[in-house]
């Protein structure tokens, strides 16, 4: 039994006392030498001065391919956030004279800083699209300062004139417009009048999608309500499946979501025989029967525009935002379960949103505790920055924001 008291671990440690130190001390010293070696040649990497324009054309030589780097926070085949960006990257790759370099599963740490630098240093990239929201501060800001001739274009709409480096741009889409239209389809498809929303975190962007979806549904079906479950993080497949199942158990017959990869929710809905409306990218192949429509990004347009601007040496907009009208977002093609009435009502709303005659957030609007959040007579068009601070769930949403 004495042998039992020893773990293999501590025996190793014990053995180490006697004969491991010699080589490990050598390795330790070698490490110090490595660090010293690293100290030497770094200065050449740090160009002085700051760029006056957002143009990166000067970097690219006429004959060398124009390299564009894409960085994703998750797998680029996730049927979601990252796949939507990868589809945009594919459109850029198809442009003549442009070469695309991609890296996926890059966390929001020094890892993304080094990936960006590596794309500039080793691949010679002139434009970088680091696509995760969390890459911006501090990572992009830090590296952009270091490489003023490279353009860093970030998804999230965080750029502030005067505060951020001039070679940085930020773009985002009003995807809640597409959620509003998807809500109309959901409101006219549900039989139980119970809709479900699987959400990651109670942040303004997510709340706005939940609210727009609900307002869309209730604009055509005032009896419809949306139950919401917050999972707490962007990619928690097990919790997402649990939320989807529990809502199906409660009689919810149309699900939608705002998580990084909608795959699990879409598949769970199909398995449970209920309807589902997608998000980020087209998930119709995962639910051929129950897929109604979905709110999708259309990054291909923005990315090819940006590459053309930078390549031509033009100055480009540092803050770029748009919705259905500008072609930043779109809807998945209607699935087989969508009725003709639902299609025509949804198309009509889409047309009005594109004309600008339909304003989603117009008063009077109450939250789901009865408090008036937008008074009668006040209209908040999509560009209103008050909407970016959204911290309420509208009437018709079942659930509350965790404090």
């Amino acid at each position: 039994m004495e042998a039992e008291a020893h773990s293999v671990a501590n025996r190793r440690a014990q053995n180490g006392i006697r004969y491991a130190p010699v080589p490990t001390v050598v390795l330790f010293i070698a490490t110090a030498a490595l660090l010293l070696a690293a100290c030497h040649k770094t200065e050449e990497n740090a160009p002085g001065g700051t760029a006056a324009t957002g143009s990166a054309a000067s970097v690219a030589k006429a004959d060398a391919p124009f390299v564009v780097g894409f960085v994703y926070v998750g797998p680029k085949g996730d049927y979601g956030y990252n796949q939507a960006h990868a589809q945009g990257a594919a459109a850029v790759a198809a442009m003549p004279g442009v070469k695309v370099r991609e890296e996926e599963n890059v966390p929001e740490t020094v890892a993304v800083q080094k990936t960006m630098e590596s794309m500039v240093e080793l691949d010679g990239a002139s434009i970088l699209f680091p696509t995760s929201f969390g890459y911006f501060d501090p990572h992009i800001l830090k590296i952009a300062d270091k490489y003023p001739k490279v353009s860093f274009l970030h998804c999230g709409g965080l750029y502030q004139e005067g505060k951020h480096p001039k070679n940085v741009g930020s773009y985002f889409g009003y995807i809640d417009e597409a959620q509003y239209v998807a809500g109309i389809v959901a409101g006219l498809t549900t039989k139980s009048n119970k809709l479900g929303f699987v959400a990651a975190k109670p942040i303004p962007q997510v709340l706005r999608n939940i609210n727009s979806f609900t307002l869309g549904a209730r604009s055509v079906n005032p009896k419809a309500t949306t139950s919401v479950v917050f999972t707490g993080d962007w990619s928690l497949p097990v919790k997402e499946a649990e939320a989807a199942n529990s809502m199906a158990d409660q009689g919810v017959d149309v699900l939608t979501m705002h998580v990084d990869s909608p795959k699990v929710v879409v598949e769970t809905a199909e398995r449970r025989g209920i309807f589902v409306s997608g998000y980020h990218a087209d998930q119709s192949t995962l639910a051929p029967k129950g897929y109604l429509t979905g709110a999708e990004w259309n990054w291909a347009k923005i990315y090819t525009d940006y590459v053309n601007w930078v390549k031509a040496g033009q100055s480009y907009p540092h803050l770029l935002r748009g919705g259905l009208k500008e072609g930043f977002v779109k809807l998945s093609p209607y699935g087989p379960a969508v009725s003709d009435i639902a299609k025509s009502r949804a198309d009509a709303a889409k047309a009005k949103l594109m004309e600008g005659t339909l304003i989603i957030y117009s008063g009077p609007l109450k939250d789901n505790t009865g408090k008036v959040v937008i008074p009668a007579g006040t209209n908040r068009p999509q560009t209103d920055i008050e909407l970016e601070k959204m911290n309420y769930l509208v009437e018709g949403v079942v659930g509350k924001i965790p404090s």
Binding site: M1, A3, E4, A5, H6, S7, V8, A9, N10, R11, R12, A13, Q14, N15, G16, I17, Y19, A20, P21, V22, P23, T24, L27, F28, A30, T31, A32, L34, L35, A38, C39, H40, T42, E43, N45, P75, E102, E104, N105, V106, E108, T109, V110, A111, K114, T115, S118, M119, E121, L122, D123, F133, G134, D137, P138, G156, D233, E388, P402, S403
Partner: protein, 381 residues
């Protein structure tokens, strides 16, 4: 015939190097099957991790937090404890460091950074110390408790970052208020590598001296060797376990502080990327030797640094480097069974043989088994 000491030293160098070579060969077979040119892959890995000053710094930066989180597992291993709570200690250390920075926002940056380091280490130390106390006083298995404490720590972290400590300006990425530019932990002069790397080097060296060259370390090894013998010799086993666990947690807490001060500037969910768990891997690969942690961290950092280039040039999936890490882990642990057998008949006559050999073949010991809790519980409690 080589002298015994020399033979042992040579063996300690040859075994890991041999294991590394075998791992790379197996990995070559794997990437060939995946349709890539193995030689090209090796070259890209070298280019991405060590070939240029930029790559080397990339590697060292990635190694920085791993050295500290690896110590969180390596220090208690001397006492026969398998602690895997680095992740939880890291995030709480980060949170405590931010609280310290906010409390002292007007002080001199040196004071602020010192307070942050102390707060981070204290929070991490208290967290793993808690697991140590559960182990000593209640006989709770420390591996399970530290694993579960990780979930609780991350839950607490998110609660504070998304609730009471949230900066109202951080709309779509919940974060605490920033610690301020002035208080940032800068790079080592002339490099891009932040001071967290130096913290790691110093911590590994201090841990080496403490655990291998002091009375405290010797007493800790005795507890690891045989708890009952240690008790009979009059060693304060309770106290040793608590101190070792607290020191272990302090190193991981310091890693959290360095991440906040050098990289993020705030505490937010981007800190939770598994440095604590990778640290466990590093500690096992280093056979819990504090100095061996340094090269192993750099090796793992280098593998991480080369991963991006493999994706971009060889068009291999991101998981490729995880495969290499997995192969390395298994081959290095397996190579330990060759200790004492490769350089002639063995120097182990006077040494206890590895556990697995003492036992009948029908009852093999799992390679990574913790000390049975019942044994220590009876002896300690």
């Amino acid at each position: 015939m080589l002298s015994r000491e020399l033979r042992r030293a040579a063996e300690s160098a040859l075994l890991p190097l041999g294991a590394l070579t075998v791992s790379l060969a197996l990995f070559g077979v794997f990437v060939t099957l995946a349709g890539a040119n193995a030689l090209d892959v090796y070259y890209q890995m070298y280019r991405g991790s060590f070939a240029t000053s930029f790559s080397l710094q990339n590697t060292l930066l990635r190694a920085a937090p791993l050295m500290l989180t690896a110590l969180c597992t390596a220090i208690p291993a001397s006492l026969g404890l398998v602690v895997i709570g680095g992740e939880g200690a890291l995030v709480l250390g980060a949170l405590a460091a931010v609280i310290a920075a906010h409390a002292l926002s007007t002080a001199n940056p040196w004071v602020v950074l010192t307070a942050m380091a102390l707060a981070g280490a204290a929070a991490g130390g208290a967290w793993i110390g808690l697991a140590g106390a559960l182990r000593t006083f209640r006989g709770v298995n420390e591996t399970i408790s530290t694993l579960l404490l990780n979930y609780i720590a991350i839950g607490l972290f998110k609660h504070f970052v998304e609730g009471p400590m949230r900066d109202p300006a951080s709309l779509n990425k919940p974060s605490t208020r920033p610690i301020g530019e002035a208080n940032a932990l800068g790079p080592v002069p002339g490099t891009d590598v932040h001071w967290g790397f130096v913290y790691g080097l110093v911590a590994c060296f201090v841990a080496f001296v403490l655990m291998r060259r002091t009375v405290f370390g010797f007493a800790a090894q005795m507890v690891g060797g045989n708890v009952r013998a240690a008790l009979l010799s009059g060693l304060p086993v309770h106290r040793l376990v608590l101190i070792a666990c607290a020191l272990a947690g302090a190193t991981a807490g310091l890693a959290g502080m360095a991440e906040v001060a050098a990289v993020h500037g705030t505490a937010n969910a981007s800190l939770i990327v598994g440095y604590g768990y990778t640290g466990v891997l590093v500690a096992f690969l280093a056979r819990f030797h504090p100095l061996a942690i340094v090269p192993v961290s750099i090796l793992v950092g280098g593998i991480g640094a080369s991963g991006g280039l493999l994706q971009r040039t060889a068009h291999l999936p991101d998981a490729t480097v995880n495969v290499l890490e997995g192969i390395l882990f298994i081959v290095i642990l397996a190579s330990e069974t060759l200790r004492g057998r490769i350089l002639g008949p063995d120097a182990l006559e006077s040494e206890p043989k590895p556990t697995a050999e003492l036992k009948p073949a029908s009852a093999p010991t799992p390679e990574v088994s913790p000390a049975p809790s019942g044994e220590t519980k009876r002896a300690v409690g």
